[in-house]
């Protein structure tokens, strides 16, 4: 079985802070991590490989040259090969252009039974690139997968809904997007880390020239959407009344305020 996992290196948004004076993002010192949902996608691929050792797991990422760290980490977790799509021509891509660039690379790889993506990346939270890759490749998709069973030539997946789930059956090849509930990702092995760095050629870097992709449809200019402006969200202007005193006094004051405003 051949599995491709798409993953993204993202800044850990849990660590992103706002400069209180300037109101801008402080990005310095924010660690880069493998996007959490993508880790679940990779774990599922590796789980399948554990059960069927002849499975080949290839990880693909698009990003700047430094994103190779995320791919090395994926190799250290147990992936077989890695491809980094890195080219200035990709810069500024929206989800449509990103999915076009990645789908082109996957077409080049050609041979796959399952493509696994994370549901969404924590820096954008769009959840779009997975389904868009599926459409570009003409593949069926199952998103929000929380449980997966792989059988001969088909998958049976539980896809999460807000109020329950669907059990979905689909023949391979198919694209799946993983959510946190799907599994518990393993830690990269220390041995894997050293191996990934020792065998330098295990992360291949592809530029837009290395495979067939329509340059009209990638990068900033190939993106249907554009950012017209961005701003930091306005806080509330109501000043907070700090209720003084010990726990008991503060609690009583609060109850009085809420009662007076007929909130309770």
């Amino acid at each position: 079985m051949k599995i491709i996992v798409c993953l993204k290196q993202v800044p850990d948004t849990n660590e992103v802070k706002i400069d209180p004076v300037k109101g801008t993002l402080i990005r310095e010192g924010v660690p880069s991590i493998i996007n959490p949902d993508d880790r679940n996608a990779l774990e599922e691929a590796l789980r399948i490989k554990d059960e069927n050792p002849d499975t080949i797991v290839t990880v693909v990422s698009m990003g700047p040259p430094q994103a190779d760290v995320a791919l090395k980490e994926a190799l250290a977790m147990g992936a077989d090969d890695a491809i980094l799509l890195s080219d200035r021509a990709f810069a500024g891509s929206d989800t449509w252009a990103t999915s076009t660039a990645i789908a082109g690379a996957l077409k080049q790889i050609g041979d796959y039974d399952i493509i696994l993506c994370g549901r969404q990346a924590i820096d954008g939270d769009t959840a779009q690139v997975g389904p868009q890759i599926a459409e570009h490749l003409g593949l069926p998709q199952i998103t929000y997968v929380e449980k997966l069973e792989v059988k001969e030539g088909k998958v049976i997946a539980r896809r999460a809904l807000e109020d329950g789930y669907y059990v979905v059956e689909c023949e391979t090849p198919v694209l799946l997007t993983a959510i946190k509930e799907l599994n518990e990702p393993r830690y990269p092995s220390i041995k894997g880390i050293y191996k990934a760095y020792r065998e330098e050629d295990r992360v291949k870097v592809w530029s837009a020239n290395d495979y067939d992709v329509d340059r009209e449809n990638i990068g900033l200019d190939g993106s249907p959407t554009e950012v017209s402006k961005s701003f930091t969200p306005a806080g509330r202007d109501s000043a907070c009344e700090i209720l003084e005193g010990n726990g008991k006094e503060a609690a009583r004051q609060l109850v009085v305020r809420l009662k007076e405003r007929k909130i309770i």
């Binding site: 200035r88 449509w96 017209s228 402006k229 961005s230 907070c240 109850v255 405003r261 909130i263």
Partner: protein, 405 residues
């Protein structure tokens, strides 16, 4: 489209560098230089005191936008009932359609749903495009995306709004790729540039740290998924008139490759955070999973439901369905009590429109106090039990106050 610097005008003040969220501007020889990291957000343009930065539009491709008219909303249904978010989309869609002077249509896919179709008219749709087919009874990506794609190709709407539900977020990107148009996810605000008939779609980015307004200038329809709970619901008008158009589909069973073989409703009660009048939320300050018992107790006493910060969901103290914030739910209850929540921006993004916010936190500098109406600086394990007692004796306390005044 790219951000450019007019070197002659640039005075090297560096204002653009500090405002850039992508760290994409370097000062070289006292002139601003835009690097590859640029995400073309335009933050620097507004900041530049000498107007030395501008945006150059060079978008490729696109369609003749004048061929496209009308606002569509996707009327998502489950088990034959349209979701609440559909009412929200109709409310927002009505405003947009009126501003553009065009028709508002609801696209309903399902089976035996004539009554629901009529109801959509009463909620403001001028037209209901109702595709009735047994194969559309339960949502499938393949079935729904094929039918709606064909409708778009044939009728050319200029705007399509979809609820950002687990299903809407499956359908939206699939459709946008099929149609070759842009899609803006999880919008929290929609405005119209009337002159250019452009939808200005505003959404949180970087975990809610930044808001971005997105345009889709040359492709149609302009697609957006809209966060449930954010827009105001359309009101029911019995006398609103519209057309219900029943459309036959040529969908065949073999078109559906990913087949739904079982539909399971959750037996755990759905946490209706978006609907709750009172929410009591717990954060990392609880210290452990057990802390939620206290939160539950307070919620019950107040007649509310339990919410949670992302940190507590990530550490599996509580189910994701309780999560409030950027990656959880957006809520605006009458009362929101944040206990042990520091107020990371992604949390604030989901609850700061609550009518009254109470924050209980040990750290007096926690950002949660900046959005709170009332704050108590203290250990929640001391404060909440006192609060429970005070709520039990609320009448006595009020009496005592009255006697004093």
């Amino acid at each position: 489209m790219a951000i450019k610097v007019i070197k002659e005008k640039c005075v090297g003040c560096g204002a653009c560098v500090t405002v850039c969220p992508a760290d994409a501007i370097n000062m070289i020889d006292k002139k601003a230089v835009i690097t590859d990291k640029c995400i073309a957000c335009g933050a620097c343009i507004n900041k530049c005191p000498v107007k030395a930065i501008y945006k150059e539009s060079t978008k490729n491709g696109g369609v003749n936008v004048d061929d496209y008219r009308g606002v569509w909303v996707f009327a998502e249904q489950r088990e034959g009932k349209t979701l609440n978010v559909v009412r929200e989309l109709l409310g927002e869609g009505r405003k947009i359609a009126d501003e553009l002077g065009t028709e508002l249509a609801a696209v309903l896919l399902g089976h035996n749903m004539e009554e629901e179709a009529d109801l959509l008219v009463k909620y403001g749709a001028d037209r209901v495009i109702y595709v009735d087919d047994e194969l559309l009874d339960v949502y499938t990506t393949d079935g729904y995306s094929k039918v709606i794609f064909e409708l778009i190709e044939e009728r050319k709407p200029e705007i399509l709004l979809i609820g950002a539900t687990n299903i809407g977020r499956d359908l939206g990107p699939k459709l946008s790729a099929k149609v070759h148009t842009g899609l803006t996810a999880d919008c929290t605000r929609l405005d119209v540039d009337k002159e250019n008939r452009r939808l200005m779609m505003t959404r949180p980015a970087f975990g809610g740290n930044l808001m971005a307004t997105i345009l889709c200038p040359k492709h149609r329809p302009q697609m957006s998924t809209v966060r449930p709970g954010v827009m105001e619901k359309a009101k029911l008008h019995e006398d609103h008139e519209g057309v219900v158009e029943v459309v036959k589909s040529d969908l065949k069973a073999e078109d559906i490759k990913a087949k739904v073989i079982e539909v399971v409703k959750s037996d755990k009660p759905v946490v209706a955070l978006e609907e709750a009048p009172i929410i009591v939320s717990g954060g990392r300050g609880l210290g452990n999973e057990e802390g939620f018992k206290l939160i539950e107790e307070l919620a019950e006493k107040l007649g509310g439901v339990v919410g949670a910060s992302r940190a507590t969901v990530d550490t599996n103290w509580i189910d994701h369905s309780h999560q409030v914030g950027q990656t959880g739910k957006t809520v605006r209850p009458g009362l929101y009590v944040a206990c042990g929540i520091s107020g990371a921006i992604q949390h604030l993004a989901g609850m700061q429109d609550s009518k009254c916010i109470v924050a209980i936190n040990k750290d007096a500098n926690a950002p949660i106090f900046e959005v709170a109406d009332y704050g108590i600086v203290g250990d929640l394990y001391e404060v909440i039990p006192e609060l429970l007692k005070a709520l039990d004796n609320v009448d006595d306390i009020m009496e005592a106050i009255k006697a004093l005044s």
